[in-house]
């Protein structure tokens, strides 16, 4: 064997040793990190997120350690460095090996090989390699032994962290509190296709209505299980015990509720926040309005879209055909265009309906709408429907029988016409701009602006008429009034441009206003077949002429029922000024208040949750509670009662 071959053999052995060293030290770093986390978690249970991060961080540390060890031994990759190392180990070679690898001047390879052979002892590397590896191996063994000293649950919590393993942590306190920790396993209904979820120590649980809830705790062996119960309303549910674990099974209710788990004088509150599976939303895109057909011929395009928060099961058009007159009517219901979206969140259907195939007669009424059903097979199915369009077939004979009082021209119709006229005038002014001097153009534009302002005022009056009732005030926005508001806004912008003689800039706003006015005009659906005849009763002539015996007594006029938000406000007011109330007591009261707010005033539930968080964190929740109070107060004030009327006897 030549001297170079010997050096290469030694290099291979050293490279192997270096790799083993790097691996062992990497494993040692990972083991040390894991052991440290196990120890800390054993002494004071760590949150799931921290434990989940422990192993990835340990692996990162191992990679860094291994890389460092490789970097430290990087000289092994150079044959010359290996040769120098061997020369240092075996001085008897008298640099023959280095000379053979890095030839300098003229030298005889045979003489060099012989010199190396005489001075080199291949077996001498073995003990050095073993010594290098003994230290990390010993370290690993020590970590393994230390890990074995901990309970297997503690090791599992770090090696395989998962939601719910809070129950594996060592119990605390004396006597141990069986209500802590608490694990809740949420199993959503199968139709929703959602995975089950495990929550560690939750204060509230949000899940679909009808979800299965499994509440689990430990320490069942510590005291008789009879002392442990779940209080719901007036009833108490006993715990189910398996080994040292207790549990309660229940279903997510429809209304938010606060559960109380009671054990030997200790209580724990858990808020159930149901997520209601909303019924599908359905929009009938065609036909857009009710109609009366002179003859039962022609076609109708039916077009509808539907959407659902979980998934749609079916979508169809429903036709109700009513025929008859007087007191005898016959109605048949038909289904058209049935589609099965198979759980898709949205779907659309289209169908062309030929009226002559329905054999309609004069006076018949066709009510059509689109209906969708969701996949909820637990609390549903939820069914949603679109607005109904009523198609009537004119009856020439009936027309004579119904007293018709001609309606006045709708104010909105005249407004639309005025806006259209204003646009024509603005466009004309723009075309003829060159014929005007700048001053006269400005005057003309400002006149249009004034007209636009007058139209805006008329729209405001219409909005007021739509949204307010006499003696009551504001009763809420309508679809039509919202569109008029859009039109009004565009009119104000148009007026602004016109006053500044910017006619070209005003026109897009004027068109925007016209479009909104047009939509508002077609949004009303009331079909007036004719106004009822106004029969005036001569009250003075008949007043109290009846002779039938009656129970007559003074009466109090009826009032609106109390708004549930007012009751929440009163409860909050009772909580706020109570001095000396302890934080846990306030927290419990707010938890109960929040559960009711979830149903009665959902808008204040988030700030109430923030206030609860503040109490848990030991900070002052008062500013947040004052905010809740302001929100409730505003909501209560915005719901006036109906106008008063006289009771009488």
């Amino acid at each position: 064997m030549s001297a170079v071959d010997r050096a290469r053999n030694a290099q291979r052995a050293l490279l192997g040793t270096l790799a083993a060293d790097a691996l062992l030290y990497a494993a040692l770093a990972l083991g040390t990190a894991t052991l440290l986390v196990i120890i800390v978690d054993f002494l004071s249970p760590l949150p799931l997120e921290v434990r989940r991060a422990a192993i990835p961080l340990g692996v990162l540390g191992a990679i860094v350690t291994g890389a460092y060890r490789l970097w430290r031994g990087r000289e092994v990759s150079s044959l010359r460095q290996v040769a120098l190392y061997l020369e240092e180990l075996f001085p008897g070679m008298q640099y023959a090996l280095v000379t053979a690898i890095v030839p300098a001047g003229s030298s005889d390879p045979v003489l060099l090989d012989r010199a190396v052979e005489q001075g080199y002892a291949p077996g001498a590397l073995g003990p050095r390699v073993r010594r290098a590896l003994v230290r990390p191996v010993a370290g690993l063994l020590a970590i393994l032994l230390a890990g074995m000293a901990f309970p297997s649950q503690s090791v599992t919590r770090v090696l395989r962290p998962r939601a719910g393993d809070v129950l594996l942590a060592p119990p605390r306190g004396a006597p141990p509190n069986r209500l802590e920790p608490l694990v809740v396993v949420v199993s959503s209904p199968a139709y929703a296709g959602l995975p089950s979820e495990t929550l560690d120590d939750p204060s509230s649980v949000r899940a679909l209505e009808g979800s299965g809830l499994l509440l689990r705790g430990r320490g069942a062996m510590i005291a008789p299980s009879e002392s442990l119960g779940l209080v719901r309303g007036a009833g108490m549910m006993p715990a189910r015990v398996v080994g040292d674990t207790w549990s309660f099974s229940l279903t997510m209710p429809r209304r938010a509720e606060v559960l109380r788990i009671a054990d030997r004088g200790r209580n724990r509150l858990l808020t159930l926040e149901p997520l209601l599976d909303a019924p599908p939303t359905v929009t009938l895109r065609s036909p857009t309005t009710d109609s009366t057909y002179p003859l039962p011929t022609g076609t109708l395009l039916l077009d509808a879209v539907a959407g659902d928060d979980i998934g749609l099961a079916a979508l169809w058009f429903e036709l109700m055909l009513t025929t008859g007159g007087g007191e005898r009517f016959t109605t048949t219901t038909r289904i058209l265009g049935l589609a099965s979206p198979g759980g898709a969140p949205g779907a659309a259907i289209r169908q062309v309906l030929r009226l002559d195939t329905l054999r309609l007669l004069p006076g018949d009424v066709l009510n059509l709408r689109a209906v969708a059903r969701d996949r909820n097979d637990v609390t549903g199915p939820g069914e949603g429907s679109s607005d109904t369009r009523t198609i009537r077939i004119a009856d020439p004979e009936r027309r004579d029988a119904i007293p018709i009082v001609p309606a006045a021209v709708a104010k909105l119709d005249t407004t639309v016409l005025s806006q259209r006229m204003l646009i024509i005038r603005a466009e004309t002014l723009l075309v003829r701009q060159r014929r005007f001097t700048p001053d006269s153009f400005r005057v003309q534009s400002q006149r249009l602006g004034e007209r636009q302002r007058m139209l805006y005022d008329r729209v405001q009056a219409l909005i007021l008429e739509l949204e307010t009732a006499t003696d009551v005030g504001f009763v809420g926005a309508t679809e039509e009034s919202m569109l008029l508001r859009v039109a009004g806004l565009a009119m104000r912008r148009a007026e602004d441009h016109l006053v500044r003689a910017r006619v070209a800039a005003a026109l897009p706003e004027m068109y925007r206003a016209l479009e909104a006015l047009d939509k508002g005009r077609t949004s009303r659906r009331v079909y007036l077949r004719g106004m009822l005849p106004r029969i005036v009763v001569d009250l003075n002539q008949i007043r109290l002429t009846g002779t039938a015996k009656a129970t007559v007594s003074p009466r109090t006029p009826r009032f609106a029922l109390s708004d549930p938000r007012r009751r929440l406000l009163e409860r909050l007011d009772r909580l706020l000024p109570a001095p000396g109330r302890t934080a846990p007591a306030l927290g419990d009261s707010l938890t109960m208040l929040r559960a009711d707010a979830l149903s009665d005033a959902p808008e204040v539930a988030p700030p109430l949750a923030s206030a609860l968080e503040m109490i848990r964190a030991g900070t002052d929740p008062l500013p947040q509670l004052r905010r809740v109070r302001r929100m409730l107060e505003r909501a209560v004030e915005s719901v006036p009662s109906l106008s008063a009327w006289r009771g009488g006897r």
């Binding site: 009710d290 109700m320 109904t388 009732a469 077949r529 007559v552 609106a560 109906l642 009327w645």
Partner: protein, 203 residues
């Protein structure tokens, strides 16, 4: 404070105007038997308009399908929440006619399940006393020969009082006559209307 005005609701689907004489007959009975200040004529009010909130009592009837629009639903909810009283009567005299089916579907979707009003309810003693609950109509007694008597009214009861009263006894036909013709009758057939209005205004 304004006198009581009988309001007939106008809705888009069906035939809201089928009870043409009902308002006059009820107003006549109120004036004949009570001191209640009442407007001499009824009004027709689109139920999707703000005008609905000017009246404490709303009467809806018809023979055909009832399918409220979104605006109509929203307004009816607000009306009842604000203390309004809704009286809905099936102008057909049958069991599961189209008005009954669709109207009860709509009411259930809006207010929850309709419940049977017991025949001992104070509604039947609010002014006149009806020992056996809702009085039978001529149709039920001998008009149609089908012996179809609906023995109870339905309603939405909230906070211990009726907010929505639903009848499929066809009072709309029973009260469809000219008020003048009452003088030829042995008893005023619209006395129960007085009970409904007095209950609606005072409970």
């Amino acid at each position: 404070m304004r006198p009581f005005t009988f309001a007939t609701g106008m809705y888009a689907s069906g035939d809201w105007e089928s009870g043409q004489l009902v308002a006059a007959v009820v107003i006549d009975s109120l004036a004949r038997h009570t001191e209640l200040e009442v407007s001499p004529a009824g009004v027709n009010v689109p139920i999707d308009s703000a005008a609905l909130f000017e009246y404490p009592f709303l009467y809806l009837t018809g023979h055909l399908a009832v399918r409220f629009s979104a605006a109509e639903r929203r307004n009816l909810l607000r009306f009842v929440d604000r203390g309004g009283f809704l009286f809905m009567d099936d102008h057909n005299h049958d069991i599961n006619g189209v008005f009954h089916t669709t109207a009860t579907q709509e009411l259930t979707a809006l207010f929850g399940r309709l419940e049977r009003i017991p025949n001992t309810h104070e509604l039947y003693r609010a002014f006149f006393t009806f020992e056996d609950g809702p009085p039978a109509t001529n149709h039920e007694m001998n008009g149609w020969g089908d012996n179809l008597v609906h023995d109870q009214l339905l309603g939405i009861v909230r906070g211990g009082r009726i907010d929505v009263l639903y009848s499929n006894k066809d009072y709309s036909s029973e009260w469809s006559m000219h008020p003048e013709s009452k003088r030829f009758m042995e008893a005023d057939p619209s006395r129960f209307a007085v009970n409904i209005v007095v209950y609606a205004l005072t409970r």
